[in-house]
Amino acid sequence: MILSVRDLKVSFRTHDGPVRAIDGVSFDLKESEILGVVGESGSGKTVSLLAVMGLITDPNATIEGSIRYKGRELVGLPPRELRRLRGNEIAMIFQDPMTALTPVYTIGWQIAEQIRAHRGLSKSKAMERVEQLLAEVNFPNPHEAMSRYPHQLSGGMRQRAVIAMALSCDPALLVADEPTTALDVTVQAGILDLVRKLRAKHKSAVVFITHDMGVVSELADRVMVMYAGRVVERGTRTELFSDPRHPYTRALLGSIPPLTGQKPRRLPAIPGSPPSLLRLPQGCAFGPRCPARYEPCETGKPGLGASAHAAACFRVAQA
């Protein structure tokens, strides 16, 4: 097992009161497996991943639970140790590639520095490696691209440069937070293709965060659906898309307009909007928007249970 997260909880103290951004998230990730994490904005995707990477630096944050990477507990590990892991074995890609790039250096130089810091290669050897990596992420002219500054690249090229940087350490774990959200679909298709190839070639385990059900269905082996800081459904890609169980998953899938076939006259919409974490409803967080709500939902918080394909819903548990 590459990653084992158990009962992860993250809270923030804010002006308006305490916010529990993550409320008991657990998941496992095996070698060369792609886990898709899907949910709307504010559902806790980014915070849960930042917690896993030890990147929550907010002094008002409290993190509880267990995060094991290759069997080793990360919660409570000194920042220096975590930093070493992040550079050597765990790589990250974010929605905005500029968070990983420095505007004042060429991308060739930046990737080479990263390689030299972690691999101790000579400058010329590192540069050679950079060129290979840029070719691997489909830069049409990798040698020329090395001398470009980030602002001279398009959004898609920048993101590919960051992926090349992430690959430079041959990561066992790649964490990607909405890396294609800001990109055009044509560019996105190329990046998804790239992630698939890398998994095959480097056997990296991947956690891929997105709000796009289509992207998850194209990429993930297993899927985790989040709502208001909790996992509401998990399962394999096939289980989740051919047999969605949680009313939220079903409603979300139903509200996506089809790309082929008959257009529905109206889209089946979900009423209301995601709740504020400061004012979570009593009982099931999806309750106020749920068409299947009944008495037990008003007071109790439905749990996920232990089965592989599981939904946190009283109705499902009962069936």
């Binding site: 679909v185 190329g190 898309f241 509200s255 996506i256 919409a269 979900i270 909007s273």
Partner: protein
């Protein structure tokens, strides 16, 4: 009795070879004065009651075209006609009576709503500016608009930040329809919204169109949303139209290599094995509109380009009534 939605409906808006160029830099800057060819030779006809969906990659000129259509931008070249009337270079005061009939909704509702004004006030604003109506009439109309867009009457006293993104977009829509427009240009109206809220707004727009007999020009980068709302699709690439046709037809059988790649790249929920769908992955990036390629502007990325494409620019040709393609080798079915 409602008008049938056919091509015989009267055009409400037309462009003839509409072109918009921006100058950037000065003659003293490193690269000198340069020209961005944002919209290039676009001829588009929008008929009453239809929804024309504008799609294309980021930077292809959708928003620029939209802004030209409502005269937020001055038009560099070509003509803009509203109900047959040439409004290309009408002055702001000459445009005033038209403004009411031609409205625009933007992507980010919070950016277009003054944060210090109550939303009731914001919706009343266009009525005050354009309508010659009393305070009582304004209050009644605002209440009516709130109901139309699905906001509660007691929301009127709130400020924009007290609303969710979906509710703010409802406020933006209420403002746009306040003066009973004929045509509404919607630039990415649902792109900033959560997936679960998008469908509500898409439905609302459809309801309003039916009730108020609106004509829409709809821009979104989510192609399935565009297909859902549009009767016709216009595909743009690097400032020009490359394909046009009935929405379902263009999606089912795209004729231009670019439309084919674009549509095949949309990730969709499937239960077949991941990655099984056949897709065309384009190499290279969108070229800069500062230096558009010669010949067919798509040739550097086109999987079927030949020599002729590098030198000879294909014209937008009408192959069947209402079905246009700009390619030397279109896939016609």
């Amino acid at each position: 009795m409602s008008e049938p939605m056919t091509n015989t409906n009267r055009p409400i808006l037309e462009t003839r070879s509409l072109t918009k160029r921006f100058s950037i830099g000065t003659r003293f800057s490193a690269e000198g004065r340069r020209t961005v060819h944002a919209v290039d030779n676009v001829s588009l006809t929008v008929r009453r009651g239809e929804t024309v969906g504008l799609v294309g990659e980021s930077g292809c000129g959708k928003s620029t075209l939209a802004r030209c259509l409502v005269r937020l931008y001055d038009i560099t070249d070509g003509k803009l006609l509203f109900e047959g009337d040439d409004i290309t270079s009408k002055s702001l005061s000459e445009l005033r009576p038209l403004r009411r009939r031609l409205q625009m909704v933007f992507q980010d509702p919070s950016a277009s709503l003054n944060p210090r004004r109550r939303v009731g006030d914001l919706v009343a604003e266009p009525l005050r500016i354009h309508g010659k109506v009393s305070a009582r009439e304004i209050t009644a109309r605002v209440a009516e608009l709130f109901e139309l867009v699905g906001l509660l009457p007691d929301h009127m006293m709130r400020y924009p930040h007290e609303f969710s993104g979906g509710q703010r977009q409802r406020v933006g829509i209420a403002r746009a329809i306040a003066l009973n427009p004929d045509l509404v240009v919607l630039d990415e109206p649902v792109s900033a919204l959560d997936v679960s809220v998008q469908a509500q707004i898409v439905n609302l727009l459809a309801d309003l169109q039916e009730k108020l007999k609106l004509t829409y020009i709809f821009i979104a980068h989510d192609l399935s949303v565009v297909r859902q709302v549009s009767t016709r699709i216009t595909v743009m690439y690097l400032g020009s139209i490359v394909e046009e046709g009935p929405a379902e037809e263009v999606f089912a059988t795209p004729a231009h290599p670019y439309s084919q790649a674009l549509i095949s790249a949309v990730p969709i929920v499937e239960t077949t094995p991941a990655g099984a769908r056949k897709r065309i992955i384009l190499t290279g990036d969108v070229p800069s509109p500062l230096k558009p390629p010669s010949g067919c502007r798509f040739h550097p990325r086109c999987p079927i380009a030949v020599d002729r494409c590098r030198s000879e620019r294909p014209e937008l040709m009408e192959y069947r009534p209402g079905r246009k393609v700009a390619c030397h080798f279109p896939t016609l079915t």
